[in-house]
Amino acid sequence: MPPPDQLNALLGECSLGRQRALETLYRLTSAKLFAVALRILRRRDWAEEVLQECYVSIWQHAGRYDPLKSQPMTWMTRIVRNRCLDRLDRPNLEVPAPDDDFAASWADDAPGPMALLLTQESSAQLAGCLKGLEGHQRQAIALAFFEGLSHSEVAQHLSQPIGTIKSWVRRGLEKLKGCLG
């Protein structure tokens, strides 16, 4: 994971129109952001398209990035996620079903996907706080976050009433906030 200072500097150069900086930024961050898009959209062609749109958008809006407000990786992840979710909200879209194993792996207490969170400085605390959640809360949160499922889709996927899912998500988020500050 590249240090935030380096990414900040590259975004600054992008805002001055230096395409080389965007190329370096892409080399350092695209594998991470592609993974995010691929997981939400579940189709490689869409994920590739969205990734292209996002780096063009990062290039155009680099001047608006404010390092005092957010980490560079957070800022770029937001751009990618929002674009993916916008695409999922298009009408009549045939989206492949989510990967059951991945979602299930968040429900139990085995290290699973949390192991990777622990290896990164920026997410180690988050991993610790996620451990404090009930398994079903963690799973509902993971389905919404990674697979881009709405409340009602999470409800379908876990065969639960939507009210139950909403309260799992709400309590899970409250607990995370309490833990993370």
Partner: protein
């Protein structure tokens, strides 16, 4: 405008960032967010908390065609924003020229005539997506008025919008800072007819420290004689 109590605001912001708030509810939330700084703050807080979750995904390298596609799009869209003024203006003229002329003829000209202004020149400034952002008009003796169509305070944020005259072949010349949310009147030191095009760049508060544009060019447009 609907406002939320702090608990509800925070809960919705969390769901928005998580991604579980979707469809029309998500779009409504985004609209409210634009108008509500507290809501934006709540969202920024949740982004800092939740987006590092993305670290749980193993990296997947995109195929090389993705970068090639990005490089192609940058070339097609906007040759290097800061230094390639002529290319930029040419591109804009080709892409948006027709729309701009149409707009100038149908919409703006009658408005100006009606107000009795003796405007002789018009410029329609567009962003790289060819969305019209500002209208400028100038009289022959060099009084230039420029006005954003929408409130650009979101765009300028803590920075300044600086207006530039783009001469053929020469360096851009600063015409001063413009208001992001209302009309600005500028006395030109030359005849408006000698300015082929205008551009607006994003600069540090107070304007470019170098006398040349240092930030991205947000809008530009050709000066049209009417």
């Amino acid at each position: 405008m609907r406002t939320f109590n702090p608990q509800l605001r925070d809960r919705l912001a969390g769901q928005y960032v998580l991604g579980s708030l979707r469809g029309p509810a998500r779009r409504r939330f985004e609209k409210l967010m634009h108008a509500d700084a507290n809501l934006r703050r709540a969202v920024t807080g949740w982004e800092a908390r939740l987006l590092p979750l993305a670290n749980a995904l193993p990296e997947v390298a995109p195929p090389p065609r993705v970068w090639r596609g990005i490089a192609d799009r940058l070339r097609a869209r906007e040759p290097v924003p800061t230094w390639s003024w002529r290319g930029l203006v040419l591109w804009r003229t080709l892409a948006g020229g027709f729309a701009a002329m149409l707009l100038a003829g149908v919409v703006i000209y009658p408005v100006l005539v009606q107000r009795g202004a003796e405007a002789q020149y018009l410029a329609v400034l567009q962003d790289p997506q060819a969305q019209i952002a500002l209208l400028a008009s100038a009289t022959r003796d060099g009084r230039l008025k420029i006005k954003p169509l929408n409130d650009l305070r979101q765009v300028s944020a803590q920075k300044a919008l600086e207006l530039w005259a783009l001469p053929d072949g020469g360096k851009p010349r600063s015409l001063g800072l413009i208001a992001p949310d209302g009309k600005t009147v500028i006395e030109l030191k030359t005849q408006a007819g000698l300015i082929p095009a205008l551009a607006v760049s994003l600069e540090p508060p107070g304007g470019s420290p170098t006398g040349q544009p240092t930030g991205p060019v947000l809008y530009s447009g050709k000066m049209l004689s009417i």
